[in-house]
């Protein structure tokens, strides 16, 4: 089949070129410039001083950086294991013939668009030690011993924040899966509808392979999004207490714009990109092997 296309090379490149040029100009070139900054010592005002790989050496020596990497990995795992399956499940549920479909489709997506300021304020109140919803609920159901200082305890704070991140972005994967499910022929889903619970299982078995490309895409998006995660944590905990929720993007921002170490900050940016490439490549390889 593909051979028919081959002689139309010019057209192909012509179709891709506009997107590619814009992308090269405003994403690739800036990050390359940033890579150059990562080799200098620069406070943004003075003349940059070339220091070779010193910024990277500082990076790897900095225990706070390693902590931010660890925190970032928590977000990555929580997101991949939380957002993708929950998003998929919700898409399956809403894709059935149920009442209020429209309402559910909208409301599930809502957290994605609510301002981080609001999300942070509301969840801080849920997590509040003294009068927060969560601790009160635990007390109410007799699980008083599980009461925690959800955001102030450095050992727990990262998990609390990760939970909010899962919640906030489930909607994103939900609509991606919802779109993918539209390509699944209706009779497959309808058959499941009639067969009840057993069909439910069958839906899963028939549907999953049909949307496997989308699942891979969702996982890749999830990893890349989680590695860049910034806004919600920044307003919710400001990376604290005691660096407990500091992720790499916050580490980079603090160093670049608060401590004004642009060289070091750029080194963190470049690390995020390289680390991301490695992770994404691994995932894609795993998928490819799985397919064979």
């Amino acid at each position: 089949m593909d051979h028919i296309y081959k002689h139309r090379k010019k057209l192909i490149y012509f179709g891709i070129l506009p997107a590619l040029l814009l992308y090269l100009a405003f994403v690739i070139i800036p990050i390359l410039i940033s890579a150059r900054y990562s080799l200098v010592e620069w406070n943004g005002f003075s003349a940059p001083k070339f220091v070779g790989l010193n910024n990277y050496a500082d990076l790897f020596k900095n225990s706070i950086f390693w902590r931010s990497l660890k925190n970032n990995l928590i977000v990555v795992f929580a997101s991949v294991l939380g957002q993708v399956p929950i998003g998929f499940l919700l898409a399956l549920l809403v894709n059935q013939k149920i009442k209020g479909q429209h309402f559910f489709r909208t409301i599930i997506f809502m957290p994605v668009v609510i301002s981080a300021v609001i999300i942070s304020l509301v969840w801080s109140m849920v997590f509040n030690y003294n009068f927060g919803l969560l601790n009160n609920l635990l007390k109410f159901v007799g699980l008083g011993s599980f009461i925690q200082n959800w955001l102030s305890n450095p050992d727990i704070a990262m998990f609390s924040v990760a939970a909010v991140i899962i919640w906030q972005f489930v909607g994103l994967y939900f609509i991606i899966f919802l779109a993918a499910l539209q390509t699944v022929p209706n009779d497959v889903l309808e058959a499941a509808e009639i067969d009840g619970a057993q069909g439910w299982k069958r839906t899963l078995y028939i549907t999953l392979p049909l949307v496997k490309d989308t699942i891979l895409a969702a996982i890749v998006l999830c990893i890349s999004g989680s590695l860049k995660t910034f806004a919600l944590i920044y307003v919710m905990t400001n990376g604290g207490p005691s660096h407990a929720t500091e992720v790499m993007a916050i580490h980079m921002y603090d160093n670049s714009f608060n401590a004004m170490k642009f060289g070091y900050g750029s080194a963190v940016s470049i690390f995020i990109v390289i680390f991301g490439i490695v992770l994404v490549t691994i995932v894609r390889q795993l998928f490819a092997r799985f397919e064979d």
Partner: protein, 279 residues
């Protein structure tokens, strides 16, 4: 038969249970925000849980005028809207060729685009500012549209091409036999079939652009060109925040985005049945 029916009922019940549970959690923040937008500053500072004593709209009027929200709405519409249109147009075309054709360099180009998913925005603020300054674009809407398009292209191409890859080739083949050109196939076969994914990426693009703060902060120096997130940030002073106005402003900012979502979401689920082929 009976047990099957019961199972079916149970399944339905469980579905509703989960969905209603999510709906409640998701509604609360919005409810809380709107509730506080009706309160005075003092009422909020004393208790932000309480119900408002009346449906006081003054925060809305004050917020609207204090930071010229009307103007920012317009700016945000122009910038976000144009960026979405350009991104989806260029992105879908690129995704079409990447997903349905074989050509040299395809893998490299595709990987290059995926690479863009990983670039942290804050790491590019200074370089992009310097570039825009050299191009003489600082303080123009274009200075926002260009990075918005560029930064959203990877996601757009990624989602669209993974979607297009899974489309059956049969219709296309028939069209080729009929002598249709590739752009024609793209326009009248691929695009309609991709409708759900197009709707998805349009929503995501719009959400990102509508809420984007950092580029707008750095690249816009004129109050008249400020986008919504910038204007909404003006409710915070150094030592005090006008939460009432902030909540009112944020509530208003949510309306268009919900409207866009509702509009697009219809397309999202119409998808295949409304497209060129029926499943």
């Amino acid at each position: 038969m009976n047990s099957k029916l019961n199972l079916n009922k149970l399944k339905k019940f469980l579905s509703y249970f989960i969905l209603v549970f999510f709906a409640l959690i998701n509604l609360y923040p919005i409810f809380w925000m709107v509730m506080n937008s009706f309160k005075t500053e003092q009422q909020i500072s004393i208790n932000s849980f309480s119900l408002p004593s009346s449906l006081m709209l003054s925060n809305y009027f004050k917020a609207w005028h204090a930071v010229s929200l009307g103007r920012s709405f317009l700016n945000s519409f122009i910038v976000s809207g144009l960026a979405v249109i350009i991104t989806v147009a260029l992105g879908s075309l690129a995704a079409y060729f990447i997903s349905r054709f074989e050509f040299t360099g395809k893998k490299i180009i595709y990987s290059l685009f995926i690479f863009g998913l990983l670039v942290p925005i804050h790491g590019t603020l200074v370089p992009i500012f310097i570039m825009m300054r050299k191009l003489g674009l600082v303080n123009t809407r274009l200075s926002l549209i260009l990075p918005y398009v560029a930064f959203n292209l990877p996601l757009t191409i990624f989602i669209l091409s993974s979607f297009m890859k899974s489309l059956p080739r049969a219709v296309e083949e028939a069209a080729i036999v009929d002598g249709a050109g590739y752009l024609r196939i793209f326009w009248s076969i691929i695009l309609p079939m991709t409708r759900p994914a197009l709707a998805t990426v349009s929503i995501l693009n719009f959400v990102y652009n509508w809420n984007e703060f950092s580029f707008a902060l750095v690249l816009i120096n004129d109050q008249k060109l400020m986008t919504l997130p910038l204007s909404l940030s003006l409710f915070s002073g150094q030592f005090s925040t006008d939460y009432g106005m902030q909540m009112a402003g944020l509530s208003m900012a949510l309306v268009p985005i919900i409207a866009i979502y509702l509009l697009m979401e219809d397309q999202l689920v119409k998808g295949m049945s409304a497209g060129a082929v029926k499943g």
